[in-house]
């Protein structure tokens, strides 16, 4: 297929669409980022456009192109600041998409249910996933106990501060953290170039996987981190997102900050290497089987009645 992707934007959606792009190219699709120019749209003549309500583009009227738009929650659950705005709902509806998709599993359907119930637009569960084209186990020496890559600002600090910082401040832990935003002194080693990320994750024995407060509460918007590091053979230890337990069965999930720190210390100890390696292997296999962008795109294609393409994503 010929597929246009929303322009590369910063933040999570940028990384997520990198993963989508890599998976599509891996299966031989012709994929381009689209800057918004109408002439280039018709020159490319896409079969599918993948856009985002948070990064609006002026999609031309083109009945030959299927439209899929990433959207935020819109349902009976009122999550202040997380739900889609009225303006965005109206914009998405005006584009008459074939489907919309959001960062939730099928079991999270209620949280996006008004897209279908009130606006008659099919919602497709498409949580974040692991990019198996980019992330893999390099089998190099894991010289750090903990690796972490990510941003910190006030909202993220609500979970990072009580969970991650006590782990990093423990004398028994060696760590390296790359990222951006507002980290406390002497913790962050700065931004890491994208082409170094896989090797960086491979240096760690474990990776603490942080999510935001609404993810703890509602179980949606799972960050990519757990899927990525598992592909690298680095043990993912997640902060408390209990709804993940039946989605990623081998994932180590903590119950509270004290338990999170205990788990990080336990699995980083040399004496527990065998147990750690066994679990990390299980995590990697589970992600490869169920949680790559190949898996997610198969679901998307299936929802668009592209059955052969859906099947081929998993071939």
């Amino acid at each position: 297929m010929r597929i246009l992707l929303c322009q590369r934007v910063g933040g999570a959606f940028g990384y997520i669409t990198d993963g989508i792009l890599n998976a599509l190219k891996d299966r031989g699709h012709m994929v381009q980022r689209w800057g918004g120019d109408e002439q280039s749209w018709f020159q490319f003549n896409p079969d599918l456009y993948i856009g985002c309500s948070g990064h609006k583009q002026d999609i031309p009227k083109d009945s030959s192109t299927k439209i899929a738009i990433h959207v935020n929650p819109y349902g009976p659950v009122n999550m202040n600041g997380i739900n889609e705005s009225r303006e965005n709902i109206d914009w998405v509806t005006s584009k008459n998409p074939d489907v919309v998709f959001g960062y939730g599993f099928d079991s999270d359907r209620i949280i996006w249910s008004y897209w279908e119930q009130k606006n008659n637009i099919k919602w497709v569960p498409m949580p974040t996933a692991g990019d198996k084209v980019m992330f893999r186990n390099l089998n190099i020496e894991r010289d750090l106990d903990v690796v972490y890559l990510g941003g910190r600002w006030e909202y993220k600090g609500l979970t990072i501060d009580p969970y991650l910082l006590p782990v990093l401040r423990d004398d028994r832990i060696t760590f390296k953290l790359h990222g951006w935003g507002d980290w406390p002194n002497n913790i962050c080693s700065g931004v890491l170039e994208e082409n170094h990320v896989n090797k960086f994750f491979n240096r760690g024995k474990i990776c603490p996987c942080m999510s935001e407060r609404h993810t703890h509460q509602y179980g949606i918007d799972i960050p990519e981190r757990a899927w990525k590091v598992a592909l690298c053979g680095t043990l993912a230890i997640h902060d408390p997102v209990p709804t993940l337990r039946d989605k990623f069965k081998s994932l180590v999930i903590s119950q509270n900050p004290e338990n999170f720190k205990d788990l990080c210390i336990y699995y980083s100890r040399p004496s527990n290497k065998d147990e750690r390696d066994k679990l990390a292997k299980e995590q990697q296999e589970e992600v490869l089987a169920n949680h790559t962008y190949h898996n997610r795109l198969s679901v998307l294609f299936d929802s668009l009645d592209l059955k052969d393409d859906a099947e081929f994503m998993l071939a």
Binding site: V77, S107, R109, H214, H216, G219, P240
Partner: protein, 215 residues
Amino acid sequence: MALATDKIVFLHVPKTGGIWIKNALNSLGLNPIEIGTQHDSFPELFNSEPREFFENKLVFTFIRHPVFWYQSRWAFRIKHGWQSRHPLDFNCASNDFLLFVDKALSYKPDGWCSWLFERYISKDTGLVDKIGRTENLVGDFIDIMREAGHDVDEQQVRDFSFVNSSDMDGFGSKYWAKYSEELLDRVMVVEDSIISRYYHDFPIDPKTLCGSRNY
């Protein structure tokens, strides 16, 4: 916390109408005092007051039919968020009602509700005098208060508004949380300990409880 007046002590089982009772006691001008933390039962309450304190009052609590309790509990968490420190949430959380109940029944094969309610209604301490049913919250409350010697105005109590903390968009938990017939049957079996003792006379209509989900 438990609530106490000079004549009664109320033990608050989660998701059984306790907030309404608290509001009612306050609205009736009975000025209840709070004892312990929100959902304490015996023997924890003895950390706050001696046994004699409770022996001199009518101690009551409310329970709810387990099929309704699961609906209410799930909808409350969907609306307000899961709490991973709570074992039921940590082990059974799901934004899909059927999955949540399925996991809860597997997690506690002898019934989470039966286990929870038993903590409050156990006859071991010999202190619980009355058990009301949430399904007849107002009527049972009036009867219990009168038996305890509080002279309550029935119409005033019936006029108190309900606090439906699980409602979403104007619909209650029974609307959002639909059972499959198979799952409903499993709840009835797993929670038989409570149902057979306190709800053997209570009709359950699968037609109103089962159906396709409203989302």
